[in-house]
């Protein structure tokens, strides 16, 4: 595995405050790696926030414990990776494939947007945790 140039980790209750905290983490992460292009920073931040918001809005608890959101972001040479997790959550309900809703729809564009922003999206489920792994190859100087 190649060298880690910078990283951030967040875990907390899956609520609106968590989205702001993750966004602040990402803003501070980019300060550590200014050689990552503005375009890569912008696209990856958008994909991570979309994915985290999807958990906050839709993840259902699998038991008595509330769902927690976890976001681990790592910058390696030429690679950005985020593991966005829903802890204590049921398996995701509904289609995992992206679709494009009608132009007057007010929701349903998140998954398609994530897929357009990153190089790969994979899903893992283990021990009651749903994890979306986002990667984007990065054109670093």
């Amino acid at each position: 595995m190649t060298e880690v140039l910078a990283s951030r980790s967040f875990r907390g209750p899956a609520a609106g405050d968590a989205i702001e905290a993750v966004h602040n983490d990402l803003d501070s992460l980019w300060l550590d790696v200014p050689f990552v292009s503005d375009m890569d920073q912008m696209t990856f931040t958008t994909a991570v926030i979309e994915s985290a918001s999807n958990i906050v809005q839709h993840a259902q608890p699998a038991g008595p414990r509330d769902v927690e959101l976890g976001v681990e972001t790592v910058v390696r040479p030429h690679l950005l990776q985020a593991r966005v997790s829903a802890y204590n959550a049921k398996p995701p309900y509904g289609p995992l494939d992206a679709c494009i809703p009608g132009e007057d729809a007010e929701s349903g564009r998140g998954l398609a947007l994530i897929e357009a922003l990153v190089t790969t999206v994979t899903f893992e489920r283990q021990d009651g945790t749903n994890t979306w792994v986002l990667t984007r190859t990065s054109s670093q100087d």
Partner: protein, 110 residues
């Protein structure tokens, strides 16, 4: 995110300052609904200070557009920043939400 508005000669300008995400999207919807209820159905959302928008924020703008049209008016956006422009283009919603360089230009030809 903070919202403010100002009624101009032929439209109401709504300024949105901050991140337009799943937290602030419902607040934008409520704010614009109140502006429309106050008698303005031609709305310009000035996004000059909106550095970030996700699909929730986009959904709120579409909801506000529908509300303005249902009231017999329209909603346009202005001063779109790069990240917001990227989200509009990737979702093809740049064809639905018309963007203008400045708020003043949004309704200038109507």
């Amino acid at each position: 995110m903070e919202f403010s508005y100002e009624v101009k000669d032929s439209y109401a300008e709504v300024k949105a300052d901050g991140r337009l995400n799943m937290v602030s999207a419902p607040k934008l919807r409520e704010f614009v609904t109140d502006v429309i209820a106050g008698g303005s159905n031609r709305i310009v959302v000035n996004l000059e200070r909106t550095a970030f928008m996700d699909s929730s924020g986009l959904g709120a703008l579409i909801g506000c557009l529908k509300a303005a049209r249902q009231a017999g008016g329209d909603l346009r956006i202005a001063a779109v920043q790069p990240q917001v422009n990227m989200v509009l283009k990737l979702t093809s919603m740049d064809k639905v939400l018309t963007a203008y360089p400045t708020a003043e230009e949004a309704f200038s030809n109507d």
